[in-house]
């Protein structure tokens, strides 16, 4: 799991407000509220960086959390969103960065 490359589903609708994010699944309109940590991962999920890299730079570098816990929780979060098809977990990095279109 450490080497997956998370990527926001290109058709997911979302807004980032005050550091948190609201994501809507376009397939069934279900809603997801992301706290600041989760929103930081969401923002960085461009398909080019591994989850471990994102956790290292966007979570451990910004929030007071130990790396092991951060990676475990980020993995659970990524897997949960992937189940709903709003986050894609790629086995390899993409060469083109997913544009940020909130």
């Amino acid at each position: 799991m450490m080497n997956v490359y998370p990527k926001r589903a290109p058709n997911a609708a979302f807004r980032v407000l005050g550091g948190e994010a609201i994501v809507m699944n376009p397939l069934d309109s279900s809603l997801f509220s992301l706290n600041e940590t989760a929103a930081a991962i969401w923002r960085a999920a461009d398909g080019c960086r591994s989850l471990a890299q994102i956790v290292d730079s966007e979570v451990c570098g910004q929030f007071d959390v130990d790396p092991e816990t951060a990676l475990r929780e980020a993995t659970e979060f990524a897997e949960a969103l992937a189940v709903h098809d709003i986050l894609i977990l790629l086995p390899e990095a993409e060469t083109e960065v997913l544009p940020w279109r909130p």
Binding site: N11, A13, F14, L17, I22, M24, P26, D28, S29, L31
Partner: protein, 265 residues
């Protein structure tokens, strides 16, 4: 034969051969009948059907198939062509079924055009400004409506109708015939929306601001939107976001007594 029902500035001409059903509709939607023949209206052809098409308890399904919205529930089957504003509905002739279809068509048209939203909310006009009281069943929408003092004009106790204001600033709240426990339609008037309150029953009357993410989440959670469509979802999100940015959005804790209306100004 037909009856033209105008809600939120959008009129839908319901055509049907069942004279008794049309009479029932004219009575129920009396405050919402459009003058004239509704030549510019959207058109819904109603084909009466006896016994339910499937189990009356079947879940509502709204899906896009070949550019046509298919809207199904146990008591009706409708198809709506958004591009040309025409549709056909087979249903057991009763106004409750038609009411549901109209709500869905309006919600789809508003989302498609990016003009507005329907919310699970009571709404009322006081001193020329509209206030919404939002929440699921049991939250207190009808209670707030019943507690409204003289001079307050009720738009609905169940489904509120919001459209972007024509001048581009904020949203207007329109009256609707979509009634809840109050069992009577709202007044067919429109007013600029001032505040949107999420109801919480409590031992005191108080207004607390909501953080932006929570406000947006609650608006979306209470939006009538049944369609699973990747084109409309971003528009609904944009409308909800725009709504939250244009009016006061807060939590209204209320004890069920008339003094709560002292806060609504």
């Amino acid at each position: 034969m037909s009856v033209c029902i105008a809600i939120g500035g959008i009129s839908i001409r319901v055509e049907c051969t069942d004279v008794r059903f049309l009479h029932e509709l004219r009575l129920h939607y009396a405050g919402y009948l459009a003058p004239g023949d509704g030549a510019d209206s959207l058109v819904l052809l109603v084909e009466p059907s006896s016994p339910p098409l499937q189990s009356p308890d079947a879940d509502l399904e709204v899906r896009l198939a070949g550019g046509i919205w298919v809207i199904k529930r146990g008591d009706f089957h409708a198809e709506w062509e958004p591009g040309c504003g025409r549709g056909v509905a087979r249903l057991v002739p009763n106004r409750y079924s038609l009411d549901s279809i109209l709500r869905i068509i309006h919600s789809l048209e508003l989302a498609r055009t990016g003009q507005g939203l329907l919310l699970h909310a009571a709404s009322a006009v006081r001193d020329g400004r509209a206030f919404l009281f939002c929440g699921p069943s049991g939250a207190g929408k009808t209670t707030m409506s019943r507690l409204a003092p003289a001079g307050v004009r009720l738009l609905t106790d169940e489904i509120s109708y919001l459209r972007r204001a024509p001048n581009g600033t904020g949203f207007d709240a329109w009256g609707t015939p979509f009634a809840g426990e109050l069992a009577r339609p709202g007044e067919n008037i429109v007013a600029p929306l001032s505040s949107l309150y999420f109801l919480r029953q409590a031992g005191e009357n108080r207004i607390d601001p909501l953080a932006a993410p929570e406000a947006l989440r609650l608006v979306l959670k209470n939006t009538l939107f049944f369609a699973h469509d990747s084109a409309l979802v971003p528009r609904v999100l944009e409308l909800a976001h725009s709504l939250c940015g244009s009016v006061e959005v807060a939590q209204l804790s209320f004890a069920p007594d008339v003094r709560v209306w002292n806060l609504i100004r």
